[in-house]
């Protein structure tokens, strides 16, 4: 039997709801309907008043969660699509993000963000949001790439006392399967060496981990050994693991599916050069999506985001520097 990425998210929430009476769910269509992606299927039946359908009010959804957290609950808010969290941006960065620093009271809310592109989803159902939330103080930003991480990091996120932006990748929901939901137990905050190598390091996260591995597979045929580091969370960002990898390979490609200006890849490169300049044998490079809205047409979409082909190409450039 195999477990999908969305199964893992479902299972994590199920256990959280069962284990902790202060956990509750809030989101559009998450009740009887089970959510747009069925991540909450069956919960309404079992947990009744702890699974609440929200009106189309993302700002109020987050404000409500903050209030509930103040009074001892651990809300999990489901955004129907991460793209719609733009409407809740203020409550996320200014209400939730500042609360602990200002008042000394932590706000254990988890906001589930179905992120990332799938063919035909277009400009408003495909966005990555990790970079804008990580920019603000006070928010933890988690970006699982594997089935077991989706499960384990979600559990850890909800158990954490601070607000977590939990970025789930929609492309992985049903496509990514695993024999087991149990992982290696790596805690939130630690990056994982997904694939060992010695010629170059690709640092990435979320769905791009798999594209990076594909690119590495192709280059392996030519004798190149590419190391792939999965950040798992972009804030905190486990720069030690990244530096250790760069120390081995001397070459860095920071890879992300988000827009190219700023963001995770820029943060990774900047930290690596500040702390590990001497480790580098070549200029560290970045590969992101293009600097336009995410196009609807699958052909444009495939050209907009990094693909195994464009990653291979970029890695060749890096290896030749």
């Amino acid at each position: 039997m195999s477990v999908t990425y969305i199964d893992a998210i479902h299972q994590a929430q199920l256990e959280l709801l069962r284990e902790d009476k202060t956990v509750f769910l809030y989101g559009q269509d998450i009740g009887d309907f089970g959510g747009a992606f069925k991540a909450t299927k069956g919960f309404k039946e079992e947990f009744g008043p702890r699974v609440l359908d929200a009106p189309i009010s993302e700002d109020a959804m987050i404000g409500m969660a903050v209030g509930a957290a103040i009074n001892g609950m651990r809300p999990i808010v489901e955004m129907q699509f991460a793209d719609f969290s733009s409407v809740a941006f203020n409550q996320l960065v200014n209400q939730a993000g500042t609360h602990y620093y200002r008042t000394g009271i932590p706000i254990p809310i988890t906001v589930r963000m179905p992120c990332g592109g799938t063919p035909g989803s277009g400009p408003f159902h495909s966005q990555m949001v990790e970079s804008i939330y990580a920019h603000y103080p006070g928010l933890v930003v988690v970006t699982p790439a594997t089935v077991s991480d989706a499960y384990q990091l979600l559990k850890e996120s909800v158990q954490l006392d601070d607000p977590v932006i939990f970025c789930e990748h929609k492309f992985l929901y049903r496509w990514l399967k695993s024999a087991s939901i149990k992982g290696d137990g790596l805690p939130l905050g630690k990056a994982r060496l997904t694939r060992a190598g010695k010629h170059a390091t690709v640092v990435t996260y979320s769905a791009m981990v798999h594209e990076a591995v594909r690119a590495a597979d192709r280059l392996a045929e030519e004798g190149w050994e590419i190391e792939v580091v999965d950040l798992r969370s972009v804030k905190p960002l486990d720069i030690d693991t990244v530096l250790a990898s760069v120390a081995r390979t001397g070459r860095l490609l920071a890879l992300g599916e988000g827009f190219p200006w700023g963001g995770v890849t820029a943060e990774v490169v900047s930290r690596v050069v500040a702390e590990g300049f001497h480790l580098l044998d070549a200029p560290p490079l970045r590969l992101n999506a293009k600097d336009t809205p995410i196009p609807y047409h699958p052909d444009l979409w495939a050209a907009h985001r990094p693909t195994p082909e464009s990653i291979v190409e970029k890695l060749r450039e890096l290896l030749n520097l």
């Binding site: 269509d29 009106p55 600097d291 336009t292 196009p295 047409h297």
Partner: protein
């Protein structure tokens, strides 16, 4: 209405046959409402920001059917050139903005279009209109936009299609008032409620609202009760809609009601309608065939620019 229904049925099959990717969102059961709005507006003068379920209104307002088929099928020759899809299309310079997905946000955009006209001295006799669902009235955008339009006393018509559900969420999880028309007074705007399944009543109510706005009486709310006779999108079977509701008056098909009204009033015969239907089928076939023959956008020819002025990225 008939054309829209015919077109949408075709889009649905194309989606189910894998020819349209992403999603297809229909206005089945809401055509009388949407068409009444589109038909009450004047193309080339008025502004209209259609939403998810407004194929009928688009057609009535004069949108070329090719815009619909090309956008759904991703043709590079459509108004969105494959960059956006399905209902996310428009021709802003022809008075029809291209909706973004974020619900409620069009209310202020259409208001801005009217404010521009006012500043240029072109507002006289002009109306702006947009549609919105019952669920989207819960957005801050809707509130801010309508309130702003009221403050500016703009000739704006906001049509609320209260189809009892937002995706799967029933109206009692969305708002606590009896009828959304009760919101009108709080915004200081006019309003009318209509039975959205009744073409004649809907058209009459719509024309009343559009006329009021046109005459300078400020924003008008039109609240229609009806049922969407399809899923939220064509991926959804709408099994959450209770059978009693489907069987109630609200579950009537506005197209059938409209047809009998037209026949009853002697405006057309059943045979006429049959002929229209056939004409619609032909028109749809052709528009689909044209779009299907066309290429999608070529990624290698794209300039990948998000700003119009070079060097600004």
């Amino acid at each position: 209405m008939l054309t829209a229904r015919t077109l949408e049925n075709k889009l649905s099959s194309l989606y189910k046959g894998g020819k349209i990717v992403g999603g297809v969102y229909l206005g089945t059961g809401q055509e009388a409402l949407s068409a009444s709005l589109g038909a009450s507006l004047i193309k080339g003068r008025d502004c209209f920001s259609p939403l998810i379920r407004d194929q009928a209104g688009r057609t009535a307002f004069g949108e070329d059917m090719l815009d619909a088929t090309r956008t759904h099928l991703g043709s590079a020759r459509g108004p969105m050139r494959g960059r956006d899809g399905n209902i996310h299309r428009g021709r802003p310079h022809q008075g029809m903005p291209a909706m973004i997905s974020h619900l409620g946000t069009a209310v202020s955009v259409i208001s801005g279009m009217l404010i521009a006209k006012r500043m240029k001295g072109e507002l006289d006799g002009i109306v702006g209109a947009t549609s919105i669902g019952d669920g989207a009235t819960s957005t801050g955008s809707f509130h801010e936009g309508l309130n702003m339009a009221a403050v500016e006393n703009l000739p704006l018509v906001v049509v609320i299609a209260d189809n009892q559900f937002a995706y799967s969420t029933p109206r009692n999880r969305q708002f606590a008032c009896e009828s959304l028309l009760e919101r009108a007074v709080g915004y200081g705007v006019g309003g009318v409620e209509v039975d959205g399944t009744d073409l004649k009543a809907t058209l009459a109510g719509m024309q009343q609202a559009v006329t009021s706005a046109r005459q300078g009486f400020g924003p008008q709310l039109v609240v229609a009760r009806l049922l969407r006779l399809c899923g939220h999108g064509e991926h959804d079977d709408a099994s959450y809609v209770p059978q009693e509701l489907r069987d109630s008056l609200m579950g009537r098909d506005c197209l059938e009601v409209g047809a009998s009204q037209i026949i009853e009033d002697g405006l057309a015969t059943a045979e006429d309608i049959e002929i229209w239907r056939k004409e619609a089928v032909e028109e749809v076939q052709e528009a689909v065939a044209t779009a299907q023959r066309e290429r999608g956008p070529d990624p290698y020819e794209e300039d990948w620019r998000a700003t119009s002025v070079e060097g600004m990225q």
